[in-house]
């Protein structure tokens, strides 16, 4: 007779979907909670570096696009927390872990947005890298996560195009605007490469996640895919990728590139990036400032319940 765990393995082997009520190994559940929570946290922390430019966006059209983008990221956070909740945790609990520094978010958001061009660079590179990471997750073995990713990826590709378009406009603008665009690429290139995580040789969670159908490609494969996709776009913009080692290899059809400085990545993950403290402090403050509002909403709802009962 098949046990419930056998049916889990059979579903994984057949490349099917695991749903919330299905049996699953505890490690699978824990890995997913960690990954989905980290992803959700990244969406909401990611609102800050971009939100930083809403008030200063240089045209009303750009302001509207940026507001809609940051709002989309809040929506992505909502879908992802809801996906995590199907695994038996709740959002409040996950937020507490984020605020206590016990769960991570993507290190890319610990870099500062210093000029308007950074909004273009984030859309183009950071949303671009997110798409490369997330498209395979649309086929992730856990149904609610995979479905959330389908929605998210659709919006991320809008964001990527909008970011490219911001830079395209700058690159065809005044010399000052073009310099701003190059400076943004110079600063965001290496952190974007680090978004794919440590090199395969040093990656700790990968193998088991691959076996469970949570991860489909290695960090290095995805990083290569990102470079191959992005370099020709930089050429269209007329911007120089800040890597002297970058060459196109006719034989393989891929770019050869210099690896980012992973020592920097480990420092940022440890909390020593330029904005780690600011990002977390902002999040904690918004949460604490809002505590009386959430309490009031709960108290009001309880009073209505009583009135009905």
């Amino acid at each position: 007779m098949l046990t419930r765990m056998d049916s889990f393995q059979a579903t994984i082997d057949a490349d099917g979907r695991i749903e919330p009520r299905d049996a699953m190994p505890e490690g699978y559940r824990k890995t997913l909670i960690r990954q989905i929570a980290q992803h959700a946290h990244s969406e909401i922390i990611g609102m800050q570096p971009e939100g930083n430019w809403i008030s200063r966006a240089p045209s009303l059209r750009r302001k509207a696009i940026l507001m809609a983008k940051v709002q989309d990221e809040a929506g992505h956070g909502l879908y992802l927390y809801a996906a995590a909740e199907t695994l038996g945790v709740d959002r409040a609990e996950l937020l507490d872990l984020l605020h206590a520094g016990r769960q991570k978010y993507s290190s890319i958001f610990n870099y500062p947005t210093l000029t308007w061009a950074d909004i273009g660079a984030i859309g183009w590179l950071v949303d671009g890298a997110a798409i490369v990471n997330q498209v395979p997750l649309c086929r992730c073995s856990y149904g609610p996560y995979a479905r959330a990713m389908v929605r998210v990826c659709k919006e991320e590709s809008f964001h990527q195009r909008q970011g490219f378009e911001i830079l395209h406009t700058l690159c065809n603008g005044t010399p000052g605007q073009k310099a701003m665009a190059q400076d943004a690429l110079d600063r965001w290139w290496w952190p974007s490469l680090m978004m794919f995580g440590p090199p395969d040789a040093a990656s700790t969670h990968s193998e088991q996640s691959m076996a469970w159908g949570i991860k489909r490609h290695s960090n290095d494969e995805l990083r290569q895919r990102f470079v191959d996709m992005t370099v020709p776009q930089a050429d269209i913009l007329g911007l120089r990728v800040p890597d002297d080692g970058l060459v196109y290899d006719d034989a393989t059809g891929h770019y050869t590139f210099t690896e980012p400085d992973y020592a920097e990545l480990y420092e940022v993950v440890k909390g020593n990036g330029p904005c780690n403290e600011k990002r977390l402090a902002h999040r904690v403050k918004a949460h604490e400032d809002g505590a009386w509002v959430r309490e009031a909403a709960a108290a009001y709802a309880a009073k209505r319940q009583e009135a009905v009962a």
Partner: protein, 244 residues
């Protein structure tokens, strides 16, 4: 400059400055659902501002961005209510209740005015601001009748902003001259009826004020507007002639 231009700029500036303040809540709201909701409201306000400023600009050969980014503080014609700093979430909801209820009454009339463009903008906006009124109403009720602390904060916010509501209903010569303009003075009674009904239901007491601030419609603002504009305008002004 024509009366139609001046009138349209008033309404456009209200929406623009309100949007700028609403947007400050994004990534700072009490819960994620509210980041999304305030994002929606801010986008509606910004959309209204753009339509109105585009129209005003078309009357004298300027763009929406010329008007938003390259006018001085004294040339802005928005209500002071819109420019006040955000304060806490109770202040945000009190302001939204007061302002959106006013906009709703105004747009409802404006959508039947003889100017097709203004009527069109108002026809679209009236549906948006109906949602804003509803959102603010729900929160004023929850906060007013929630906890002791939320009640105290809601009461304080309703009172602090009340002296900035009189300005919404001021009639002046421009309104008298321009046939398509909606005279706001007669809207006041219905505005009070609606707003006070929400305040009563929220268990808060009705605010009273012996004095009402004024000046926004003639470009005399609070000290806060200058800083808001400095932030809004600085990138555009640092690169004169650039397109974005």
């Amino acid at each position: 400059m024509s009366d139609l231009f001046d009138y349209t700029v008033r309404l456009g500036d209200d929406a623009l400055i309100a949007a700028q303040r609403t947007a400050e809540w994004i990534a700072a709201a009490p819960q994620l659902e509210e980041d999304v909701a305030l994002g929606n409201i801010g986008l509606d306000q910004l959309g209204q501002a753009r339509s109105l400023l585009q129209y005003a600009g078309s009357l004298d050969g300027r763009t929406e961005d010329d008007l938003a980014y390259f006018r001085e503080e004294r040339e802005f014609r928005n209500l002071q209510l819109c420019e006040l700093p955000n304060g806490d979430f109770a202040h945000a909801m009190a302001r939204l209740l007061y302002f959106a209820t006013y906009q709703h009454l105004l747009y409802e009339e404006l959508r039947t005015c003889a100017d097709e463009t203004l009527a069109g903008v108002a026809g679209k906006a009236v549906k948006e601001v109906a949602y804003h009124v509803d959102h603010a109403t729900q929160w004023v009720l929850r906060l007013g009748d929630g906890t002791e602390e939320s009640h105290r904060r809601m009461q304080a916010a309703l009172e602090a902003l009340w002296p900035y509501t009189g300005e919404m209903f001021e009639s002046d010569e421009l309104i008298g001259r321009l046939a398509v303009a909606v005279d706001p003075a007669p809207l006041r009674a219905e505005w009070e009826r609606r707003v006070l009904a929400v305040i009563d239901e929220s268990t808060c007491s009705r605010p009273e004020a012996s004095y009402q601030h004024t000046g926004g419609r003639s470009g005399r603002h609070t000290e806060h507007l200058g800083y808001l504009l400095a932030e809004l305008q600085h990138v555009a002004r640092s690169h004169p002639g650039a397109t974005w």
